[in-house]
């Protein structure tokens, strides 16, 4: 019964989304406040419909209703509750429903929160959002319905892929999808601005909170995914430049560029056309990501729930949606008013350069991701583009960007004093170079690139703090004044500071981890030793463990350094009978910011020997914690900045273009 309600509510959501398009569109044409209100009501109702459908599907998963095909294929009665809930979005159908939930949710949010928007702009935004909702809901209802029933329900389900039965991955899709789809609002606002022919400071102020929300959620989503890959796959790495990873990274890069260009449009009225372009590109990359991940056209090490037959439909949706968006752009953008002028050395220029670098980086990632497809279409050869390509192209562009980041906020608008900025950053530059050189001199083995990375990270953090000190006059010695100034700083400024520091923390972690990671693997019998850098690991025992829906072998090791016991890693190797699949459960000992990472491999009976042996792999990942803490700080900065903007949501009407 509940399943029928869910299926019905989903169709209702589709119809209501369509109603939302018609009502809001008519409201714009007739300039009718009544119709606009009705359109907003429809947006809210569409969200409620999809929410009911989502709740119904979740209910089916929680109670293990195997008459629903999707539940039977992805759930199991013995699965812990968290993973039964997470199973809701673990499959293709469920994840598309989650996508629609976020899409209609953001549509309802625009309709409800957008009181300060001009009536015309708002009506077109709600209509566009409804159009996106209609397209994706139609896809979900007709091509990927999660409520399809089985005539002959099985007694037991096939269970969710055990690799996905993990707390980080249980919450990863909701964050990632809200991030992806948060950018849809930005897309709708851009389309609306083009229809209205008005892109000004007020519009940019409107775009920022949505872009910030999408960006922050996407940051968390990507970080959770990387963290999951790090400790669940047991390969010791956290980023593989896999197509699926790139698919989530490209919208993030574009959203980052958008956040920065929107500042220029907001504060100076310049770059309006470019900002609109980025706003459209951001969601286009989100849809491209969904297509790449779901269609399986590219070989990925972690593609789940792919379905090539539906890929074509998603590609058509992508082509039509993005195509019409960019057509609208090509048609209307030339009529946008040009913005204010600025000198070559100015904050505008720094932000333009930031955008150029981010756009170029996105382009190289896109090309590397799609090149296998292009090559195959042209020559028929199968190739793969691996991490070396991305390291070679992406890193230099990002290095240039990182060098620029601390200077940006210190430059003044319109025309800046380059010498003054250089002086103010002198101390930070000195510390950064000193840190890099010190690392080069003291840390063995010597790694020039990793030391340059340390210098860059320190430069980012130090330079950002210099700017904070500058703003609060920390060097003037008047502490009361400094404190007054610090508390008086707008939250947006704090958000930027945190985001830049977070990036620095990430750069430090990524460079140190990559540069000085130590790896060792050996087959050990009980009592055997494995040497890993300064550590010695001893396999003490291996015992069987009964999990809720798996059987495991759990090893107990002792990690000793200089004769002192440091920790006892207990890695597991789990067998899930429901899917006939084995996974490794990595043991990670956190020592400060460093990780001692131990994986238990398969058991092998040595020929001739009496005792069995186990393959044990261990990694020493220095500063690995920073890799994941950095992005969390960045996202925190985003949310703090968002809390600032929220207060100003209503002020959208206020400003015409300054100067």
């Amino acid at each position: 019964m509940i399943d029928e309600i869910g299926g019905f509510a989903l169709i209702l959501g589709l119809v209501l989304s369509l109603t939302q398009v018609v009502l809001s569109g008519a409201a714009r044409v007739r300039r009718s406040a009544v119709l606009a209100g009705a359109g907003e009501g429809a947006a809210l109702a569409a969200f409620l419909g999809v929410a009911i459908a989502f709740a119904a599907l979740m209910h089916a998963f929680v109670v293990s209703d195997f008459s629903v095909a999707n539940v039977a294929a992805n759930s199991h009665t013995e699965k812990p509750l968290l993973y039964r809930v997470a199973g809701t979005w673990g499959s293709h159908e469920g994840s598309m429903l989650l996508w629609c939930l976020a899409l209609t949710g953001f549509g309802a949010a625009v309709a409800m929160l957008g009181r300060g928007l001009p009536a015309g702009l708002k009506a077109v935004t709600v209509a566009t959002q409804g159009l996106l909702g209609t397209v994706f809901l139609a896809y979900t209802v007709f091509a990927s319905n999660p409520f399809v029933r089985l005539l002959d329900p099985p007694v037991e389900g096939r269970s969710l892929n055990p690799l996905l039965q993990d707390p980080a991955l249980a919450v990863h899709p909701p964050f990632l999808y809200s991030g992806y789809v948060g950018l849809s609002v930005v897309f709708s606002l851009a389309a609306a601005a083009l229809v209205e022919g008005r892109v000004d400071a007020a519009w940019a102020r409107w775009v920022r909170p949505w872009a910030l929300a999408g960006w922050s959620l996407l940051t968390i989503g990507i970080t959770l995914g990387a963290f999951w890959a790090y400790y669940e796959l047991g390969w010791g790495g956290w980023w593989f430049w896999d197509p699926v990873e790139n698919a989530s990274f490209m919208p993030w890069l574009i959203a980052t560029a958008l956040l920065h260009s929107a500042v220029v449009t907001e504060k100076r009225g310049a770059l309006s056309g470019w900002t609109v372009f980025l706003a459209m590109a951001a969601f286009t990359f989100s849809m491209l990501g969904a297509f790449l991940v779901r269609s399986g056209v590219l070989t990925s090490v972690h593609a789940f729930a792919v379905d090539p037959t539906r890929g074509v439909l998603l590609l058509i949706i992508l082509g039509v949606t993005a195509g019409s968006g960019f057509l609208l752009f090509a048609w209307r953008a030339p009529s946008l008013a040009p913005g204010g002028l600025f000198a070559p050395v100015s904050r505008e220029s720094a932000l333009v350069l930031n955008n150029i670098l981010l756009a170029a980086a996105t382009a190289t990632v896109l090309l590397g991701t799609l090149y296998p497809l292009i090559r195959e279409a042209l020559t028929g050869e199968s190739i793969s583009v691996g991490p070396p390509y991305f390291n070679l192209t992406f890193t230099p562009l990002m290095t240039a960007l990182i060098l620029l980041v601390p200077a940006g906020p210190l430059l003044s608008w319109k025309r800046a004093d380059a010498q003054g900025v250089a002086q103010r950053l002198g101390l930070a530059a000195l510390i950064a170079v000193g840190a890099g050189l010190a690392a080069y001199a003291m840390v063995s083995p010597r790694k020039a690139f990793a030391c340059a990375g340390i210098a860059l990270g320190v430069w980012l953090i130090g330079g950002t703090l210099s700017e904070l000190a500058e703003r609060s006059r920390a060097f003037a010695g008047d502490w009361a004044e400094t404190r007054r100034r610090l508390t008086g700083l707008p939250r947006g400024a704090w958000g930027m500071t945190l985001a830049h520091i977070g990036l620095g923390v990430f750069v430090l972690g990524a460079c140190v981890e990559t540069g000085w990671k130590v790896e060792a693997a050996e087959t050990l019998s009980l009592g055997g030793h494995l040497k890993l850098g300064a550590y010695e690991l001893t396999l003490e025992k291996v015992q069987g463990v009964d999990g809720p829906n798996y059987d495991a072998e759990r090893a107990t090791l002792h990690a000793v350094r200089n004769g002192r016991e440091i920790c006892t890693p207990r890695p597991e190797r789990r067998f899930y009978p429901a899917g006939g699949q084995t996974t490794s459960e990595v043991a990670i000992c956190t020592r400060g910011a460093n990780h001692l990472y131990v994986v238990l491999g398969e058991r092998r009976e040595a020929a001739g020997a009496k005792a069995p042996v186990w393959l044990v792999r261990a990694y020493w990942n220095p500063w690995a914690l920073f890799i994941f803490i950095g992005p969390v700080i960045m996202a925190l900065g985003g949310f703090i900045s968002l809390s600032d903007r929220r207060l100003r949501l209503g002020v959208g009407k206020r400003a015409a273009r300054p100067a």
Binding site: V301, A303, A361, Y389, S584, A607, R617
Partner: protein
């Protein structure tokens, strides 16, 4: 400002923009071309590798089905197995932990290079997380050769215990 810049502010801004974009674009294009010529790796099935004869030491990907009964695991952590397609076989040697989904008869992709003695030294062996699917290149190459017992053979839903 210097005299050689155009007088019109609009043209001047355009010039500055071009001056900023050009080096970044040149850098990006240069690195991309270099990267794509140098750090891509080709995918071969054993018979394609036999025909293409990649030089020893050149990083490639070798994909195919793991021949039944060919897997030899030694106590020092080494694994030898035969990857085959319809017409050819290749001996693969790998040091380390096999992916959880590695099974005889299943499709895999190994990255690595051929040694001088013709044995493929794998650095990494990939099987998909999701056991219902083959690595795409493998399934496609096998389809071409007419050996494909594809996804269609396995129903989307299987009663527990009946399969895998």
């Amino acid at each position: 400002m210097s005299g050689w810049l155009p007088k019109s502010p609009k043209a001047r801004r355009r010039l500055i923009l071009v001056a900023a974009i050009a080096p970044v674009l040149a850098l990006a294009v240069g690195l991309t071309l270099f990267g794509l010529s140098d750090s891509i790796s080709y995918f071969y099935t054993p018979s394609q590798a036999l025909a293409a004869k990649p030089p020893a030491g050149r990083a490639i990907q070798l994909g195919g089905l793991v021949e039944k009964g060919s897997v030899v695991k030694t106590a020092d952590g080494r694994v030898d197995f035969v990857v085959r397609d319809q017409t050819a076989k290749a001996l693969v040697s790998y040091q380390g932990d096999l992916p959880d989904l590695f099974r005889e008869g299943q499709g895999i992709v190994a990255t690595g290079s051929f040694r001088g003695d013709g044995v493929f030294q794998a650095k990494q062996v990939l099987a998909k997380h999701d056991e219902r699917y083959m690595p795409r290149e493998v399934s496609k190459a096998l389809k071409k050769q007419g050996e494909w017992r594809g996804d269609g053979a396995v129903a989307a839903y299987q009663a527990p215990g009946s399969g895998t």
